[in-house]
Symmetry: C2
């Protein structure tokens, strides 16, 4: 009735995958899985759960909800955008980042599926990190991933949200991280960094990118830049005094969506999102605190694409 596993040395992940397959595809109960695999019911449940947390299971909804489609169309029209995707609302207290991640991943996937080599520029932040987490494994050796922003934190650790590395790992793509601190206080050092040949290559690629994905940060007290310790309370105050309401890849902009020239902007280690003529620049952001910065960024045409959540669009259009 039951078969002992032919290979006793099957890895734990394999076993989890097998359990998940039986559960989600086969529709077996955990008890049946346990019998099938010759383990206890509890172990079966742990395997299924493990498969889930390890991201082995991807769930996709085939149906676009009419209400969201309408919002997409309206947003596209209002701000003259090329790409818009709106994720249906999740519960009241839910993290909006979580809601948009799978949708953002599917948008990125469309570019990744292109057989023509694409250059894809990436910012950082929780939203992008979540998006990458939702990506399936695809072989993209013909594409290039470029980072827009330095990956060295003030505390010296290499990664804040190491978006590029994770993505490159999943996609098996060439990747060009930016070997640069996020902020460089000394203009002299900054200049010398920028003079590095590797950096010039990255800058060149980013300027030719076919598509750029960026998060959008607010500049309130909960500003990600500040909360994560990249800028000081002083910096934050200063930028706000200049009218900053949001930032993209650490570049602050005002309520009209104009990038600011400031003490901070002269310290940023990174590149402004741009890309070649006609390229996509897609913002990934959702949540009440993103409404003001998003509205500004859209008004100033810093973005021509957006992935966000139902609640956020409603607020944006209100």
């Amino acid at each position: 009735m039951k078969k002992p596993l032919s290979d006793p040395e099957e890895s734990a992940t394999d076993e989890a995958a097998r359990a998940a397959w039986l559960y989600y595809v086969g529709g077996l109960t955990q008890d049946q899985i346990a019998t099938e695999l010759g383990v206890s019911r509890q172990r079966a449940q742990r395997l299924v759960s493990k498969a889930m947390t390890e991201g082995l299971i991807h769930v996709r909804l085939e149906h676009r909800i009419a209400g969201c489609l309408a919002l997409e169309a309206e947003l596209k029209r209002r701000f003259d955008l090329k790409t818009v995707r709106v994720a249906p609302r999740l519960g009241e207290g839910a993290d909006p980042t979580h809601a948009i991640a799978p949708v953002a991943a599917s948008v990125m996937e469309r570019f990744l599926r292109q057989p023509e080599p694409q250059t894809i520029a990436l910012g950082t932040g929780r939203a992008l990190r979540a998006m990458v987490e939702e990506l399936p494994k695809i072989n993209c050796e013909h594409h290039k991933l470029v980072s827009l922003i330095g990956n060295i934190s003030p505390d010296g650790t290499a990664s804040n949200y190491d978006v590029i590395m994770r993505a490159a790992d999943k996609l098996n793509a060439r990747h060009y991280p930016m070997p640069l601190p996020v902020l460089l206080d000394d203009p002299e050092i900054r200049r010398s960094f920028y003079a590095l040949p590797q950096l010039k290559i990255v800058a060149l690629l980013a300027a030719e990118a076919d598509v750029t994905f960026v998060g959008v940060g607010q500049m309130t007290e909960s500003a990600p830049l500040y909360v994560d310790g990249f800028i000081s309370a002083e910096d934050l105050r200063e930028e706000r005094a200049l009218g900053a309401v949001g930032e993209i890849a650490s570049w602050c902009f005002d309520s009209e969506g104009r990038y600011l020239e400031s003490r901070l902007s002269r310290r940023v280690g990174g590149l402004r999102p741009g890309g070649r003529e006609g390229a996509h620049t897609i913002g990934i952001a959702a949540g009440p605190e993103k409404v003001t910065p998003l509205r500004a960024a859209l008004k100033g045409r810093l973005l021509n694409g957006l992935v966000t959540s139902e609640e956020t669009v409603e607020a944006l259009l209100a």
Copy 2:
């Protein structure tokens, strides 16, 4: 706390999609969904279940199990195949067709994702039908779907397993069904059908197909051709006497994988799978009763690709 649906006229499917989104992506409980949507818990459960049965939810396993990969490699080597995918075993009593369907769909998806126009030929049968059912919605207006086999049953109804129509519907692709009975007893009528210009177009396309997907039928008492009433017990006996062990798109072959010339073969309304030089011809079949026909088909190189199940490969290689 709860919001009434902004649009009271949201369709039932939309509501189901919303419930499923909350359940699978948001991880809410059915009670929470009920509150969120302002319906009873039972309705929430029905919506989620409906989303599932309507195929709005697609589950995909990101991890290829080592054991299956090994089997694929071995099968590929043994029969010199271009494409092999092995689905992990489901429970003892499970329908193997169900197990291979999602895997087959992902193989087909790879062709569908090609931006170059593809001509895809399709046979019929339960396995293909299940595969199509698992396809996601993709826009494939640049591809062409061609049927290899007549779609008019002996009882006059238009569809046995109307694979092409379903596929074309999901993919929005040009499709060329074969307006032909599955079997034509009168040679005269057969000739005149084949002379139809529409049919010549279909034949031309099939002969140039980039990839062909076919089921593989056994020729035992449980032969699909017989069970579904396309051939008589008499026909079956006759073919078996000639050595038939299996059939592909109604074309019987013997244990060496050679197509048979017979009374039946002269009545078949359809085309042999072929396609252009170097094209893919992929069999979709699993289950103990398919082992013998599959072994023959592979030996005779009637196929150069296969999607099947773990148990089936083990039997094939034994």
